[in-house]
């Protein structure tokens, strides 16, 4: 067994202490013949420190497209020649989406908006939408609305939003290659306020933006430093019209190695399969990831693209004897 896996077995599996940047890099550099044992170790770590349950979430876009930011991977930027048009979801449709999500057994429903940060119109829509969902649907409400002010953080807490997603997207050193309209530090500041407010911090990113393996390890270490409650792990799904529209997708083995490495960096966090898993790993990849460190999934569709039908993911969890985390366990 490679030295890094021996060390991880002692430090991460037995001790619950995640690998540092150098350790993550060593895992990411392991040759393919060690991938199976790396995934097995990551799975053992997940089972030891998180348990067998899988947290299931649905997401919906409350405000799609027309975003003033230039995140190079995103089809919702108004600065690129993307075919995605701006559209708002009405409150009855939002509540219906939450009901459909809850019907899958999901405990999380994340409301997302393509904005730099919320304006008063969006906050009003959130106030009404979250209140309507909480009145009619038994599900936890999360939000992802870009960069926040302290007043907006406080207001989301008052609404009952229990978790806030704000992805750092990539490591600090590579971020300027991906976004020029705001900084990595501005995102970090929102995350700091969210954490201080008592809301759970959800922060991850996208692999395959053109970052090096070293920068992937840097990103895992920076996320570990943040200690987020949840890390959504996306893989780039190149979108037509965006600056990264011609970027190749991550090779399946590299994607799986990254899943295991991120788990070994963060033994206790919720590590969620998010966008791009279908195009990167196919149907079999979902199984491999769930047996390689993943302990949460987004079911159904994403914000502008489609995912596997929820019942296929739920059937797989049943087959793997991984119970869906119950709502009572998250309250």
């Amino acid at each position: 067994m490679p030295e890094i896996l021996d060390r991880a077995r002692t430090q991460v599996l037995d001790g619950g202490v995640g690998l540092d940047e150098a350790g993550v890099l060593a895992v990411l550099r392991l040759p393919d013949e060690h991938l199976t044992e790396t995934l097995q170790l990551a799975h053992e770590v997940r089972m030891r420190w998180c348990g067998p349950e899988v947290e299931v979430e649905g997401i919906v876009s409350l405000k799609t497209g027309g975003c003033p930011e230039d995140c190079h991977f995103c089809s919702q930027s108004g600065l690129f020649a993307s075919p995605v048009r701006s559209v708002w979801l009405d409150i009855p449709s939002l509540v219906e989406a939450a009901k459909q999500t809850a019907a899958t057994g999901a405990t999380e429903f994340c409301i997302v908006a393509a904005v730099r940060g919320p304006d008063e119109r969006l906050m009003k829509q959130m106030r009404e939408g979250v209140a309507a969902i909480r009145a009619e649907v038994d599900i936890q409400v999360a939000a992802s609305l870009g960069m926040l002010t302290q007043d907006q953080v406080d207001e989301l807490v008052e609404m009952g939003v229990h978790r806030y997603n704000h992805n750092l997207e990539t490591c600090r050193s590579y971020f300027p290659n991906v976004v020029s309209t705001h900084s990595w530090e501005e995102r970090w500041e929102t995350l700091r306020m969210v954490r201080a407010s008592g809301m759970e911090v959800c922060c991850g990113g996208i692999l395959g933006l053109g970052e090096t393996v070293e920068q992937r390890a840097e990103f895992a270490a920076q996320l570990a430093e943040l200690e987020p409650h949840e890390v959504p792990l996306n893989f780039l799904n190149p979108r037509p019209g965006t600056p990264l529209g011609d970027q190749p997708v991550v090779a399946p083995r590299d994607a799986l190695r990254a899943i295991a490495a991120f788990r070994l960096a963060m033994p206790r966090t919720i590590l969620r399969y998010a966008g791009g898993r279908e195009i990167t790993l196919g149907d079999l990849g979902t199984r491999d990831g769930l047996l390689g460190g993943i302990n949460a999934v987004i079911v159904g569709n994403y914000l502008t693209t489609l995912g596997r039908p929820a019942n296929e993911d739920l059937a797989l969890l049943d087959e793997l004897k991984m119970p869906v985390k119950a709502l009572s366990a998250t309250l």
């Binding site: 919906v60 559209v87 459909q100 569709n301 502008t304």
Partner: protein
Amino acid sequence: MTMTTETANWCDRCGEAAATGDHDACRAARALEPPRYCPQCRRRMKVQVLPSGWSAVCVEHGTHAAPR
């Protein structure tokens, strides 16, 4: 208004003429994407993706929807 069912003139993914060029990649991609262009007039549609479906509205030709 629901979508009228006329012959597709335009690829609903890339917006180019359906009869010219190779749209195999578009057809494959559409398995994991909603349509973006009206197949009858090439207008960009307003598309809302939901956890279990999507709807796409052309101002001229109405609504596509695909619940799952």
